[in-house]
Amino acid sequence: MSHAKKAAIFNKDEARTDWHDASLWMVRKKRDFAVSEIPEWEYLREFASDIKSHTLSKLDEYLVAFEKAAKQNGAIVHWAADAKEHNDIVLSILNRHNAKKMVKSKSMLTEECQLNDFLANHQIEVIDSDLGERIIQMLDEPPSHIVLPAIHLKKEEIGELFHKELHTEKGATDPQYLTEAARHHLREKFHTAQVALTGVNFGVAETGEVVVCTNEGNADMGVHLTPIQIHSMGIEKLIPRRSDLAVFTRLLARSATGQPITVFTSHHRKPKKEGEMHIILVDNGRTTQLGKPDFRNSLKCIRCGACMNTCPIYRRSGGHSYESTIPGPIGSILTPGIDLKKYGNLPFASTLCGSCTDVCPVKIDIHDQLYKWRQIVSEAGLPEGGNKTLMGMLGSGLAAPRFFHRLGNLGRKMLRLFPGNERLLSFTIWTRERNLPKAPVESFREWYKKQAKNEQ
């Protein structure tokens, strides 16, 4: 189903749509406050963008340098060309250690690779340990936001779910109480799992470190309590120098939730004693995106979610309407490159207002790329590209002044004959929720002609 259709369904519950809109706008406002505390904010964005541009221009060299440093640290580095290879690598590590239970902290990459389903099919229990992720895992839903995975759910729904799954009191909805229940549930899991997997926010080429930013402490609980740690990392997460982390840690949390920094910024360099540290470098379409000059900037994304929080379409349609792992404006420019037919409708889920571009901490030209994807979708002849015949007719009409004049006359006459009968035009989306204007007595052209006569 297209985004527009899913969004229409989402909007049927007006009160809930308003609530969703307001929740995200609150996060956007927090971001604005946090940003206002840093006078050099705009310079930081520029530096971040340039560091990423530089890294992408030498990505092969930096990956090799990162691999070398990580190996020197004692980590085991794997390369995965696609999602399947990534999942196979994870499974082989689990199998080698005869592990049946894995705790996972938030990782959009493993969502992208559909790792949970894959491992479930191989009788591996995967426990998502971020609270929001655990909630949606229990509901068997995908995340609706990359930073706030359960932002679409009400506390009553979560209370009901926890009553069923964790035996909390029936009708209990207090977030403090529900979080406490999840804490006990998850702490038990951390002690019994054999392997922990995390995503990666930044990989530092010069030191071979992987940096993971979290608030709940779940990633560290998992990694440090299990002997085997796995870090799944998209190849675009690299940065050249350790000092570059200063730029990105200052930008990330302020953009994401309005915090000055995430509670935990963990730098994993070496495996623990008698433990193993695996790093899986994943391509899965990224090198293809790198080859598209108009769209390669999307690879700079640091997954803060600011573009979602500010987007009027995202806020009023919800993350699930996008039906892609990464929703919102950034998802709408990342996914058409993966499957144009399936995701070609997403670049149209935008007003092109440019707010996403304004808040992006790494200065991705998101709304320009949305516009460019629209051209590609139209050229590919996909239905989302608009009705070509109608557009062609409109084009020739506008190019012929006399015909246009006659058409205008006819239009005004029709409006006078069928006033308010906008249902006549309900075949276009535009008029479905808009009334047609009152027909003016005369056109500008007619008025102008009269003025010219009067002056003589």
């Binding site: 530089h54 995965a80 340990s129 009400k154 709940e216 402490g217 309590l225 000092s243 915090q259 730098h267």
Partner: protein, 193 residues
């Protein structure tokens, strides 16, 4: 061809023209009082802050904030009524009420405190698994921004290091802030001269 070679050759074929790596200046904090800002930001993020003149006052501050404290571990040898780290068994730490550790440096602009495996006596999970965390930081170690912090830290000298900027927290249920998610339920920062 291995996936490694395939990925690398794809990048070689597809990568953009060279782009210079910028020299990022070490931006300093615009606040004249680093200590004041550090305390203010920590408290805003839900942490408590205490100041002492001498190390031997730490035990008293901790007791005043946790009057009924039970099992307290400490990596600082000279704190009254605390145990030293003696076991590597996770169960040993799970039952810990309070853990006192010494941070390497504090960052004023975000209240983050750097600590590594060394200060944690090899127990990486320590600051996460404890019910309550106490971090002792010297005022002299405070820097203004993350740029200054990484400049001081330089190249890594530890297997694991982490910036901790508050108690573990979540807002995953309806954006309501809950302090005490999977990690420590509270953070008390004690500033020493």
């Amino acid at each position: 061809m291995s996936s490694r070679d395939r990925i690398l050759s794809h990048i070689k074929a597809n990568k953009p023209n060279p782009w210079p790596l910028p020299d990022v200046p070490v931006f300093e904090s615009s606040s004249p009082d680093k200590k004041k800002l550090f305390i203010q930001i920590l408290e805003r993020g839900g942490s408590k802050v205490g100041c002492v003149d001498e190390i031997n006052q730490i035990g008293r501050v901790v007791s005043s904030i946790f009057p009924e404290r039970k099992r307290t571990l400490s990596t600082l040898g000279n704190v009254e009524n605390t145990e030293n780290i003696t076991s590597l068994d996770p169960e040993f730490y799970e039952g810990t009420d309070i853990t006192i550790v010494e941070g390497v440096l504090g960052v004023a602009e975000n209240g983050a405190i750097w600590i590594t495996e060394k200060e944690l006596e090899g127990i990486r999970v320590l600051p996460f698994i404890t019910q309550h965390l106490v971090m002792v930081v010297s005022e002299k170690s405070l820097v203004g921004t993350m740029h200054e912090a990484y400049k001081v830290l330089g190249r890594p000298d530890s297997e694991f290091g982490v910036f901790i900027a508050g108690p573990s927290k979540t807002a995953d249920i309806e954006q309501s802030l809950v302090i005490g998610a999977q990690g420590a339920r509270s953070l008390l920062v004690i500033l020493t001269p």
